[in-house]
């Protein structure tokens, strides 16, 4: 499967627009692999309870899912699937 990054998160993946992962079964395992490869992502992506922060917009094959819910994390992924992450973090 392939991760695609846009917005504030790019800085934490060395400005790679895409990242390919193998041996991924679910959205949950994909996110865990991603965090192992880019540990700096953890603090921005994951909240104090270990869930994906609500501010991270996650789309699986162009459909937005609530990745903070356990149900969405069980989504099965195959090698042709794409998971897009968009995050807008702004001060004020």
């Amino acid at each position: 499967m392939k991760f695609k990054f846009s917005g504030t998160l790019l800085r934490f993946v060395d400005y790679q627009k895409e990242l390919e992962l193998t041996n991924v079964q679910t959205l949950h395992t994909a996110i865990n692999q991603l965090l192992e490869l880019h540990p700096d992502l953890r603090n921005i992506m994951i909240d104090g309870e270990g869930r994906v922060r609500k501010v991270i917009r996650v789309s699986v094959n162009r459909t937005v899912v609530d990745a903070s819910s356990e149900g969405a994390l069980k989504t099965a992924l195959t090698s042709s699937d794409e998971v897009s992450l968009f995050t807008a973090i702004v001060g004020g």
């Binding site: 846009s6 921005i44 909240d47 104090g48 869930r51 501010v55 917009r57 807008a88």
Partner: protein, 344 residues
């Protein structure tokens, strides 16, 4: 710092008496009514701080739980709240720290570099990192021991009472935590809802300035003719009208989108609101320069409403997220949608 003789405080109390501090409670359904009130405030008051601070009180009230809200005094205007997020760094990094003591109490230390209405506020939403790098949000009262408030003077928005607020080992009971696990999302939710509201007063002010320029052109003579008779002045007034109509329409569309799509919109990044903020603030600056061209030297005097407007609207370049960053994110989101064949 806080004196009840401050005009903005008595004005806020009078607005609160008419229910204007609680429009947004329960999911933002009152956005249209609040926007109308803020536009009207901008039209009738020469200082954009007034609608800015009123909109902020609505946002603060909206973010408080029932029990916190009833104790806060925000709704009746007896107390003022402020959003204490920004430090001298990017929006993801914090030096303000929160640690938990053995007795369960919290200890807050750090500094927020720029807090709108911070010099007058009674309570602050403070974003701070724990020892385990959780970003939490705590409610801090000005009266808590160790809170130090230093007023800062802005280039405009004179009554917005900007301040640097420092926290020197401020001890807080555990029930002051507003958000325990995801302060980052909390801040983005808070700011997302603010973008549209903070520029409503600007549109009202543009209406008032256009009227002012029109009156000036009708009664001022140059070379034995009224300014209003010169085609170049008519062109400038016409251009100002175009900008005003465009800003008003953008605001109306974003408010309609907010109200009609309340249940399924992205609560953390609403591109309608972000685009409206960027457009209204940019337009206001072009508009202010045109007003100065009509008014000439009289518009440049410090007490001129047009000069004040020019100073005030520059304060909104950074408010609710800097223009450049918002445009960057709007562009990135659009390109991602195009790449994926989805229309944003």
């Amino acid at each position: 710092l806080r004196s009840d003789e401050q005009p903005i405080l008595s004005w806020l109390r009078s607005q609160a008496g008419q229910g204007a501090t609680g429009f947004l409670i329960r999911g933002g359904r009152g956005a249209a009514a609040l926007a109308r009130t803020l536009v009207s405030c901008g039209e009738s008051l020469p200082d954009l701080s007034y609608p800015l601070v009123l909109s902020l009180q609505n946002s603060i009230a909206n973010a408080l739980e029932d029990a916190e809200l009833s104790a806060s005094g925000i709704l009746d205007g007896s107390m003022i709240g402020a959003f204490a997020y920004s430090e001298r760094r990017d929006a993801l990094e914090f030096e303000t720290r929160l640690r938990c003591e053995a007795d369960g109490w919290l200890v807050l230390s750090g500094q927020k570099s720029w807090v709108t209405v911070g010099a007058l506020a009674d309570l602050y939403f403070v974003y701070a990192e724990t020892e385990t790098r959780k970003l939490q949000v705590v409610l801090v009262r000005r009266s808590d021991a160790g809170v130090v408030v230093e007023p800062l003077e802005g280039h405009g928005l004179a009554a917005a009472a900007f301040a640097r607020v420092s926290f020197h080992d401020v001890r807080l009971p555990p029930d002051r935590i507003i958000e325990e696990n995801d302060g980052l999302s909390h801040a983005q939710w808070f700011l997302n809802n603010r973008r549209l509201l903070l520029c409503c007063g600007t549109v009202g002010r543009m209406r008032a300035i256009l009227d002012h320029c029109g009156r000036y052109a009708l009664v001022t003579e140059r070379y034995h003719r009224r300014l209003a008779e010169y085609p170049n002045v008519q062109v400038i007034i016409g251009r100002m009208r175009v900008l005003l109509n465009a800003a008003q329409s953008t605001l109306d569309c974003a408010i309609a989108a907010l109200e009609s799509n309340a249940s399924n919109r992205d609560r953390y990044w609403d591109s309608h609101q972000a685009a409206a903020k960027v457009f209204v603030v940019d337009t206001a600056q072009q508009f202010a320069l045109l007003a100065l061209r009509v008014l000439g030297g009289s518009g440049f005097r410090a007490e001129s409403e047009a000069a004040r407007f020019q100073r005030d609207c520059t304060g909104l370049i950074a408010g609710g997220g800097p223009q450049d960053l918002l445009e960057n994110l709007l562009g990135a989101e659009w390109l991602q949608c195009m790449e994926e064949g989805v229309r944003s």
